[in-house]
Every structure is written in C-alpha cells, then in structure tokens.
Amino acid sequence: MKLLTHKWVSVVLLWLFVIAVWQIAAGIYGPDIIPGPVATWNGAVELLEDGSLLSYIGISFYRVFVGWVLGSLIAIPLGLIIGRVAIVRVFAEPFLNFIRFIPPIAFITLFLVWFGIGEQSKIALIMYATLFIVMMNTLTGVLAVEEDKVRAARSLGASEWQILIYVVIPATVPYMFTGIRLAMGTSYMAIIGAEMIAANEGLGYLIWNSRLFFRTDWIFVGLICLGLIGFFTDRLVGLLGKKLLYRYGVVSSEPIRR
C-alpha cells in the first residue's frame, strides 16, 4: 500500500485506469460515438503525417501567446493607474465590474467586423480575454499593499513616484502573476471558440471541422492536445514565476484553482 502513496506510482495508475475506462466505454458504444484510445492514436498519427496537427497546435499557441503577452502588457499599467489614482478608480471600477461579465466569445462577431477575418480579430479577442483578468488582479494587488509599507517608505524619504516604483509595483507582483496565469486559461477557451467560428486552421477549427467528416477520433485528438498544451504552458509559467519571482513571494508553481 505504501507504494500507492508515492506520487508517480499513483499518477501512472490513475491514467491507466482512465484509459481502461475509456477503452471499455468505446467497446460498449462503438467507435463513432466514443473512439477508443487506439482509434484516437491512429487518428493522431494520421493528422501528424500530413503535418496539419503540429501546424494547428502552433497556430493556436501563437494566437494565444501574442494576445496574452500584449494584453498583459496593456493591463498591468492600467491596473496600476486605476489602483493608485482614486479619481480614475471611481470612474473605472463600475465599468470594469460591468464588462468583466461579458465573455470573450460574445464579442467574436463584433471583433470580426471591427478587426477583419485575419489574425487581428483573434489576437484582439485574446487580448480582451487577458486584459480584464490581469487588470482586476493588478488593481486588487495595488489596493492590498499594506499601509505600513507605504508609510515606512514615505518617512524614509521616498517620493510618491519612488513609492510607486519601489514599493507598490514589487508588492503587487504576486497578484499580477496570478492574473497572468489565470488569463492563460481563459485565453485558450476564447481562441477555441473563435477558431470554431472564423478560422481555417488551429485546434478549434480541427475540432469543429471534424464534424463534417464525422471524425470523432480527430475531435478527441484536438481535445487531448488542448489539455496537454494548457497543462504544460501553465506549469512552465508557474515554474518561471517561481524561479524568477521567488523574492516577490511567488513561491508555488502548483496549478491555480478558481
């Protein structure tokens, strides 16, 4: 029994169990309804051989990455300003609390009209998905900076500008980082929706388009790829944060629950 509590043993056993259940379900319902592990594997090989799978993964990842980086770069200064300047906050907060309930997917048609059917509309959508989460988290972080730290800095001779640079921003880093990690998750959700409706490539396109050929195995391949990229990028961002931002109190690379 002691062997079971070992992390790697239990993880491997869990996945073997999942695959077994999957195989049994596939046997009961047939390959058209639930393609089994083997059928899915064959579908994946097929997609890998014609090169489409890797390029779809690449294009989806590229869209998420660019939109996510740009969105974060805009969101952080905005969050800092809203958090730091009371008069801006009074006007911005009600608006933020209104707009953050509108999911990115709801904007797809409008973004297509505004930014065209090319890459811009998809990247704009990811930026939107990233912007509000990172902004809200940064804002929360700024408001959570302990008054004693600001007071200490002030009586040590720091100017308001120095307080922002040397106290508020470093104290807010863990909040920004949490926002950025959460935004990665919502970005994947948004891009799949966008690619289903308006794209000729990408994982969302693969999943949606497979219905035309009734290739449920390809759909499974798309789903599994999504899960894997999401898992690995989140872990990577978590590890980078732990390595680079340890000083600022970013200590865990474990997945964030929400």
Partner: protein, 265 residues
C-alpha cells in the same frame, strides 16, 4: 555624552492642546480620539507613552509621524509645524511583516532610505554595514525577511531607520509580538543603542516593566475615547536598569496602582 544645544532644539517636540476628532454622519457629534494633549519632549530624550490598548497612543504617534492629520492644536518638531511625514522622524512599526519590504534582503531593506536619496552604492554599503553590525545582524545580510525570526525582523527595522539618520525614532510597540525572552534582550539592546546614538525616542507600549526599563520619562495615557496624558513619571534610575531592584519594583507597583485606580472609577 550630552548633545549640542542646537541639535537638542532641532529635535524638540512641542505639543499643546492637541486634538484628533471625527464627527459622526448622522448626528454631527464630535468624537475625540485624543483630546487636549500637552507634551514637551526634549532632544535626545527617551520618552515612553504608556497606556492600555485602544487609548490612542498609536494615533498620537502617527500624528507626530505625520501620517495622521491633527484636528486642532499645536504639534511642532524643531519649531516647525508637522504637516507630513519627514525624514527627521523615522518610524519602527509594530508589525515587521507589514512594514519591511519582503522582496528585499536585509541589506537592501536597511539601505532603502539611502537608495531613495540616491546615495552612491559604496557609501550605502558602508552605512548599512555599520548599522547591520550595530543591531547584531552581521552574517544575515543576504537573507530575505521571511527567513528571519520575529526579533531579527525588528532588528532590521531598527537598522533601517538608524541608517537613514533620522534624529527622532517613533516606535509603536515594536516588541509587542515577540516572546518574553527575545523581548528582554531587544529592550537591553535598544537601550544600549539609544545611549550610543543619542536619538530622541518616543516609545509606545502597554507593558509597565518595558516602560521602566527603557524610558527616562513615562507619560500615562488614559483609556479612550477622549484620551490624553494625565501624568508623567520621571524614572530616576541609571542605565542599565535592574527590574528586580527594590526601587524599580516600587515604581512599577506605583504605576500599576495608577492604572488600577483609574479603572476602578
């Protein structure tokens, strides 16, 4: 060991008829947190503000620091009215975790004020080396605050304000969260450092023994609201003080009696 006259004057704190009040929204009544405080502290003095929790000691300290604006009255440091925080008055906060910068190591925390004033790096190191050694943190320079014990964190706070060369130290129950043994040794060291550096110290506490170990004078604050300083005890004992000596115990008992008398009303 005495300070030059002009330095004493620079650090003199004069408080007269000082009030801090707020009015309630519904009735417009004035509520006083502290009312009609008169106090004069001379440069180089170690003054203790002693009183029960919630008596406005911290409010008074924060007003001297310039964090909290007064409602009315006079509050002067070195002859100038206090309007905002200034480098002449440094604050050692009760909660080290809330006031230290956790992303900076010990040395960087100590050098914070110097960096803000754009001291050259070599000069900063020279100064921080000196004060890190003075507070007994030599060898811990590169540790982050979260790697230190509570007592060590308060030492960092102390070194941070000493390095900044403020003449007046405002200390808000800095040893309140420490265990009894650490507290005793911190009191001893603070007393020593004060005698070496000749700073003006205002030290807030609710611990009578601590007040007697440290202070030259002890101002008793009444319980809030509308608290003020009702009585000032002179502590005539030489440093370092022995808390088990008969005169020490007698004065401790007398101050204890003072509070008991007040609360029995």
């Amino acid at each position: 060991m005495s300070l030059p006259a002009h330095v004493i004057e620079q650090q003199t704190i004069t408080i007269a008829g000082l009030n801090k009040s707020y009015s309630t929204k519904q009735k417009g009544e004035l509520h006083y947190i502290i009312q009609d405080v008169d106090l004069s502290i001379k440069g180089g003095e170690f003054f203790v503000l002693l009183g029960p929790s919630g008596c406005g000691k911290s409010t008074l300290l924060n007003m001297i620091a310039g964090f909290v604006a007064k409602t009315s009255g006079q509050l002067q440091v070195g002859g100038a009215e206090v309007r905002k925080p200034g480098q002449d008055r440094a604050v050692v906060f009760q909660q080290a975790d809330a006031s230290l910068f956790p992303w900076l190591n010990v040395r960087e925390n100590v050098e914070f004020g110097l960096k803000m004033q754009k001291f050259a790096k070599a000069r900063r190191k020279e100064i921080s080396d000196h004060f890190i050694e003075l507070v007994g943190l030599k060898g811990h320079e590169t540790k982050l605050p979260r790697e230190l014990s509570g007592g060590m964190k308060q030492r960092v706070q102390l070194a941070r304000v000493l390095a900044n060369d403020s003449h007046i130290l405002l200390m808000d129950e800095p040893f309140g969260a420490l265990d009894a043994m650490t507290r005793r040794s911190m009191q001893k060291e603070l007393s020593q450092i004060w005698r070496q550096t000749k700073k003006t110290v205002i030290f807030v506490t609710h611990d009578i023994q601590e007040a007697l170990i440290l202070g030259q004078r002890i101002g008793i604050m009444t319980r809030g609201p509308s608290s003020n300083i009702t009585h000032i005890y002179e502590v005539p004992f030489a440093y370092p003080r022995d808390p088990s000596s008969a005169p020490f115990l007698a004065l401790e008992k007398q101050i204890q009696g003072h509070f008991e008398h007040e609360y029995s009303i």
